[in-house]
Each structure stands twice: as structure tokens, then as C-alpha cells.
């Protein structure tokens, strides 16, 4: 082929700038469409079972009825009602106390156990299994186990106190102790999961960095503080977000162990919502409280992501 004819052919193939942009846009569109098609199996249930019910709940929070009888618009009546309901403020407070205590305790214990399992690997599978088993136990069983532990007459805790010469405790009859029991039951249940999570994270910490720190003369605690913790931070913050979402929705253990008592001291937000929605058929108030819970979780999640984002930016 002569040079002239080759150039001519090349000219014919070359697109103008506008044509090139259009072709690029078409290509991106095709590619995005394909990606969206792949996402469709997720988006359909997301829209059907999450987005629509969430929006529907917001709408119903301005209505009376909606489950057993037709919804009737009542404006801000439900919102005014829950705003003056001291049980809701108490429930928010209880949930916050519970979440902070449960998250701090479970994370501390899980990190310690993960460090031990990471260091002493011989026979660690048995410990991993033993730690994970409570997570498989249904809430009813967890409740029963903790009822047996806390029983006044034959509970293990009171028998131990008795043997040590202390007075027995009316554990589920004291507001503070009852909430603490729920915290401990949930920590016991979640410990295995978080231990394995942190163990996996620890195993991703590059050995070379730890070796380098060791060569530089850093001791165990220093290596943990200066190398391990900073490298774990993204995983830790992700775990905090997940834990906040899960712990603000605590319900089953409350239901089985205390049913919100004694005197509302273990009444949590989901317990409050459940009672309003189903026990009393005050659906509007239940939905309004559910929207409050959604807002709290979204706000806390946003704060966590902001913190996580800031760290990432600094690292970048």
C-alpha cells in the first residue's frame, strides 16, 4: 500500500473531536448500563424492602393507623406525642448507655483475645470455635442462659457471691444491673465474631513493619501502640460503624431477659417502637420513633465516616 493511500485511509478512520466525544459517551453509557444490570439483583430488593418501606414509614409517621385500618393524615400529632413521652427519652438514653458500654467492652476483649490468638497459634482453632459458638445460639437460648446465671436462688453469680460471703444480688430487679446484664449477654454473644474480625485484621499487619520496629528497639506495647493500632485504625472505625448500627437496634435480648423492666430501665428504642407498633397498635407513634432511630443511626454513621474519611485524607 502506498503512503498516500494509507494516510487517506487513516484520515477516514480518524474522528472529529465532536464525533470522538459522542463515541466516548456512547461507550461509557454502554459500560455503565452493563454495570447497572449487574447491580440490579441488589437494587431491586434494596428498593422494594428498604427504600420504599423507609419512605413509607416516614409517611406513616404523619398518619394514624396504616396497618389494621386505613392511614389517616394527622400532621405532627404523633411527633408531638412521642416528644412528650418520657419513656422514649429514657429509651434513647438506655440505648446510648448500652451501646457505649457494649461496644467498648466487646472491642477491648476482642482485641486482647485476637492478640493472644495471633501470638499463640497452637491449638487456637479450638478457642476460635469456642468463642464463635455463642453467636450461633438463638436469642432465646442466650436469654435463658443469662436468666440461669442471674437467678436469685440458684444463679451462678449469686451462688458465687454467697460462697464468697457477699449478699446475693437481685440482678434483674435492679435497673442498673439489669442493663449491665443485657450488655454482658450481648458482649458474650458478639465476642467471637469481633475476635475473629480483629484476628483477621491483625494478620494483615505486615510482619516487616513489626520486625523493623523490633530492630529499632521498640518493645511489645510500643509496637502495638505505634505500629499495630495505626494500621488497624481503618478496620476499627469500620467496626465501630457496624457495631453502632447493630447495638442501637438491640431488641431480642431485652425481649427475652427483661421486657424493658424493671420500670423502663432496660427499655431500648426498638423495644419502645415494637410496643407502640404491635402491642398498642399506636402505629403512627411507632413509625415516628423508628424515624428518630433511623436519624440517630444515620448521624452516628455519618460522623464515623467523616472521621474515617479524615484519616484517609491525612494518610493520602
Amino acid at each position: 500500500m502506498s503512503t498516500v493511500s494509507a494516510e487517506k485511509a487513516w484520515d477516514e478512520l480518524t474522528l472529529s473531536e465532536a464525533e470522538y466525544r459522542r463515541a466516548g459517551a456512547r461507550y461509557r453509557q454502554r459500560r455503565s448500563l452493563r454495570a447497572y444490570l449487574f447491580l440490579l439483583p441488589y437494587f431491586i430488593p434494596f428498593i422494594a424492602f428498604l427504600l420504599v418501606p423507609a419512605l413509607w414509614s416516614i409517611w406513616l409517621s404523619f398518619n394514624r393507623g396504616g396497618i389494621l385500618d386505613p392511614a389517616k393524615y394527622v400532621g405532627l400529632e404523633n411527633w408531638r406525642s412521642i416528644a412528650s413521652d418520657t419513656e422514649l427519652t429514657g429509651a434513647i438514653q438506655n440505648t446510648a448507655v448500652y451501646a457505649v458500654e457494649a461496644i467498648l467492652l466487646v472491642f477491648t476483649l476482642a482485641i486482647v483475645l485476637a492478640l493472644l490468638l495471633n501470638r499463640y497459634r497452637k491449638g487456637s482453632n479450638i478457642f476460635k470455635l469456642a468463642l464463635y459458638v455463642p453467636l450461633l445460639a438463638p436469642a432465646v437460648l442466650v436469654g435463658l442462659i443469662w436468666q440461669f446465671l442471674t437467678n436469685f436462688d440458684f444463679g451462678f453469680i449469686n451462688l458465687a457471691l454467697d460462697a464468697m460471703g457477699f449478699d446475693r444480688l437481685n440482678i434483674l430487679g435492679s435497673g442498673r444491673l439489669a442493663l449491665l446484664t443485657i450488655v454482658l449477654a450481648e458482649v458474650w454473644r458478639g465476642l467471637g465474631f469481633w475476635t475473629l474480625y480483629f484476628l483477621a485484621s491483625l494478620q494483615n499487619v505486615p510482619e516487616e513493619l513489626l520486625d523493623a520496629a523490633r530492630v529499632d528497639g521498640a518493645r511489645g506495647v510500643q509496637r502495638f501502640r505505634r505500629v499495630t493500632i495505626p494500621l488497624l485504625r481503618p478496620m476499627l472505625l469500620f467496626a465501630v460503624v457496624i457495631a453502632i448500627i447493630a447495638n442501637f437496634q438491640v431488641f431480642d435480648t431485652v425481649y427475652v431477659l427483661t421486657q424493658g423492666g424493671p420500670y423502663e430501665s432496660t427499655s431500648t428504642m426498638v423495644w419502645f417502637i415494637w410496643k407502640r407498633l404491635f402491642q398498642f397498635q399506636e402505629t403512627g407513634q411507632g413509625y415516628a420513633a423508628a424515624v428518630v432511630l433511623l436519624a440517630i443511626i444515620l448521624a452516628l454513621t455519618a460522623i464515623s465516616f467523616r472521621v474515617l474519611g479524615a484519616r484517609r485524607k491525612r494518610r493520602a
Binding site: S81, T86, I171, G173, F278, Q281
Partner: protein, 455 residues
């Protein structure tokens, strides 16, 4: 004889209700009866057997293949078996099969709400006066006090047998959403051996005497003088409501427009209960034992007086408690009344039921002596109809009935009653745990109750 007539009337559709049979079906049945009669003639001496056979066949042909969904929170662990046994004649006569779902007490509100929201709700269920009107006013229950059901020509005679107050207390704004079936009542069991040992010779009749007797017996934490459910989850309000009535008060005004939690009778009655725990220390602290644990303590000989429902009678008798025991009606107020409180139980029909006629047959049967005599006797409930006799020669149940029917003062039904009684229960719990004084607890209950009535 009278009883069997009533039983037949209730158990089977009245003649007037029968749908017309086709000529062909009638001739077929007549031929069958005609052919079988000579052969059966030697065995059947009375021609009176024929009408009942016909009625049975008619009822069967009308409802053959119908299965009703039936739900109830149980009075005991054996209830499903008891009901299945008692329903056998109903199914045999009508052909209606009944599928029974046990709904746990503490989740009944949630279970019924979700079920009635669906397209195929329980055709027939059991509702107490607290939940009855809440569901009824939302349109999910059939209104029964009309000429189609309760006052239908075929049922009018039976309707007149209901104790008027049970119907009256179950009506809200002119509508009756369920047919009363039992009056629960509460009783006070006592351990005779413990009382003898402590030198208590007179069974207390009022709260002052109860406190004194309980103090004599109590040697906490091994033996407690008294036990009654004190938490909202154990329906504490149910066991305290009569004490307010004994002092001439109530938790709600007659027109149901005002709550009366901060009135003297409510506060005085609550204070008496709270004092038994916090001042006299004759009752275990709140949370130490729940209702079932309290009953277990009584069975173990560690409670002198137990305030509970008469349904424990069957259990105590069948288990054979290792001490002498008996029961009386709950104590009254000093210089006041001695009433018995209970909610009434009701059989209800779903307004969305696809088989309303069959559901009505079941409701009628459940209310009839054929079912209610034995069911009431088994759980110690007092009857709501003059032709129902739950005692059947049982002296203890006869006493329960006597107490209840003489001193019963029922809770009026209303759409917010479940919430209001829970508010009252929470207030009792707050005061009994020492979290609030009785006055503060009732002031909060008053504010909460007022808000609930307005919403």
C-alpha cells in the same frame, strides 16, 4: 334434658339457618335412610334418632370441607389438647375442621396485629377486654350485637342467658366485638402448714390483716409471707385493679374521657401493695421472682399467701403439693369492699373471615355448655351464662364461681385500655421498685394516660 336441648341448639345450626338442599340430595338421603331403617330397626327403638341424624347431615353438608383458623393465648400448657378433645363433637356434627394456633400471652398484641393485617386472618380468636375494642374499633372484628348474629331469631333465646353485666362491660359505643365466654377472677391461695406453724389461725379478709399475717409467717429470704405479680410484663395491674374498686375508685372515668391515676383510691391501693415489699418486707423485691417463679416458690412451700388466678387449681391438684393448701377470694380494703376483678374473655370473629357462618357456628359452640362447662371447669373460670355450669360438682371451682359471681367488677372495654392498663402497671412497678414514690409514679401515669386518651 334441658341442658341437652341447649347443647344441641348451640352446637348445631338452628333449623332456620339451614340452606335448602337440592331435591336430588334430599331424595338420595331419604333413600339411604329408608334403606337403612329396616336393618337398623332392631337396634333403633326410638324414632327420635332420625331428626338428629338429619340435622347432623344437613350441618355437615353445609360446612363439609371448611377449615377454620382459630387462635388463642393459652390458659395452660395442656390447652391445645383440651380444646382439641372438646372440639371433636363439633367437627363430627358440622364437618368444620378447626386449626388451632397457640399465641403466647406476651406477644399476643403483635401476633394478632400482624395476623389481622393480612388477607387471611384467624376466623375465630380469643380476646380479653383490654384488646377486644382496640382491634374492634380498627374494623378487624365482626360486630356481634345485631340481628345477624347475637340477636338472630335462632340465637335470641340463648343470648338472653348471658349475665347482663358481662355483655354490658364488653360493649363500647354500642358495639360488641366479641361474645363473652369466661370471667377470669383471681383468688388468694394459702399454705395451711406455714400458717399453722406461724400461729396464724384466721385467714385475712382485708389488706391490714394480710400484712399482719404475712409478717408472722415471713422469714425472708427462705419463706415469704405474700406474693403477687408486681411487674408490667406479668400484668401486675390485673392483680391490683380490684383493690382500687374496693376503695371506691377506678383508673378511668365512666365516660372513658379522663384517667384517674392520681386520685386517692388509686394511690392508697398502690401504697398498700408497695408497703408489703418496701416497708413490711413480706414480699420478695420486684424482679427477684417473676410470676411463674413466685408460683414455683409457693409450690415449694416458700410462700404463705399467693395471689394468682384460679387456673392454678388444676395444676396444684394434679401435681399434689406437699403441704395442705386452700384458697379464698382476694382480701378487701379495711372497712371497704371486697370485690373480685377480672377481664372477661371473648370469642371473636374476624370481619375478613371467608367463612363467617361457619365461624359463628364455632363461636356458638365455644360459648355453649357443651364446650364451656368442661373448659371452664378445667381452668377454674366462672361462667358468663346462666345455663353454663363450670363447677360440675367440683367444690373448689364452685367456690371460685361463688366468689367471682358475687363480687365481680369488670374492667370496661375501650380502644386504649391495653395501653392504659400498661401505664398503671408501669406506675406500680416504679413505686414497688422504689424508683419513684407512689405519688410521683401516679402523677406520671396521669400525664401519660391523659396523653394516650388524647392521641
Amino acid at each position: 334434658m334441658d341442658e341437652s336441648v341447649d347443647r344441641n341448639q348451640d352446637a348445631l345450626p338452628a333449623d332456620g339457618d339451614q340452606p335448602g338442599e337440592s331435591r336430588r340430595e334430599f331424595l338420595k338421603k331419604a333413600a339411604v335412610v329408608g334403606l337403612s331403617l329396616p336393618a337398623a330397626g332392631a337396634l333403633v327403638s326410638s324414632a327420635s334418632a332420625r331428626p338428629s341424624m338429619l340435622i347432623r347431615d344437613r350441618a355437615r353438608s353445609r360446612y363439609e370441607g371448611v377449615t377454620l383458623q382459630f387462635a388463642k393465648a393459652p390458659f395452660g400448657t395442656d390447652e391445645k389438647d383440651v380444646i382439641a378433645k372438646l372440639l371433636k363433637p363439633f367437627t363430627a356434627k358440622t364437618g368444620i375442621k378447626v386449626q388451632h394456633t397457640v399465641v403466647p400471652w406476651n406477644t399476643e398484641g403483635a401476633s394478632y396485629a400482624t395476623n389481622y393485617a393480612g388477607p387471611h386472618p384467624y376466623d375465630v380468636s380469643y380476646q380479653t377486654s383490654t384488646d377486644l375494642t382496640g382491634l374492634g374499633t380498627k374494623g378487624v372484628l365482626e360486630v356481634l350485637n345485631n340481628s345477624k348474629w347475637l340477636y338472630s331469631p335462632a340465637y335470641k333465646g340463648t343470648a338472653a342467658k348471658f349475665i347482663p353485666n358481662t355483655i354490658k362491660k364488653s360493649i363500647y359505643q354500642g358495639k360488641l366485638y366479641g361474645l363473652p365466654c369466661i370471667i377470669g377472677g383471681t383468688v388468694m391461695f394459702y399454705n395451711k402448714d406455714l400458717l399453722d406453724k406461724a400461729g396464724v389461725t384466721k385467714i385475712p379478709t382485708n389488706t391490714t390483716e394480710l400484712a399482719a399475717a404475712a409478717q408472722k409467717v415471713s422469714s425472708a429470704p427462705n419463706v415469704w409471707g405474700f406474693q403477687v405479680p408486681m411487674t408490667d410484663k406479668d400484668f401486675t395491674w390485673y392483680f391490683h385493679y380490684h383493690a382500687i374498686h374496693n376503695l371506691g375508685g377506678d383508673i378511668i372515668s365512666k365516660d372513658q374521657k379522663r384517667v384517674l391515676f392520681n386520685t386517692t383510691p388509686v394511690m392508697r391501693a398502690t401504697q398498700v401493695s408497695v408497703d408489703l415489699i418496701l416497708k413490711d418486707k413480706v414480699q420478695p423485691p420486684v424482679g427477684q421472682y417473676d410470676r411463674e417463679a413466685g408460683v414455683a416458690l409457693f409450690k415449694g412451700g416458700r410462700i404463705a399467701f399467693l395471689h394468682d388466678e384460679p387456673l392454678r387449681l388444676t395444676v396444684f391438684r394434679s401435681e399434689g403439693l406437699p403441704f395442705k393448701w386452700d384458697f379464698v377470694n382476694p382480701v378487701g380494703a379495711p372497712n371497704g369492699k371486697r370485690t373480685i376483678f377480672s377481664t372477661t374473655g371473648h370469642w371473636v370473629m374476624a370481619s375478613k373471615s371467608a367463612n363467617k357462618a361457619a365461624a359463628w357456628e364455632l363461636v356458638k359452640f365455644l360459648s355453649s355448655p357443651a364446650f364451656a362447662n368442661e373448659f371452664g371447669a378445667h381452668y377454674g373460670w366462672a361462667p358468663v351464662r346462666s345455663d353454663v355450669n363450670t363447677a360440675k360438682g367440683d367444690a373448689q371451682v364452685a367456690r371460685v364461681n361463688k366468689y367471682v359471681l358475687k363480687g365481680w367488677d369488670g374492667l370496661p372495654t375501650g380502644p386504649k385500655m391495653a395501653q392504659l392498663t400498661s401505664v398503671y402497671g408501669q406506675a406500680i412497678e416504679a413505686a414497688a421498685t422504689g424508683s419513684k414514690s407512689v405519688a410521683d409514679a401516679m402523677a406520671k401515669a396521669q400525664a401519660d394516660g391523659t396523653r394516650i386518651l388524647k392521641s
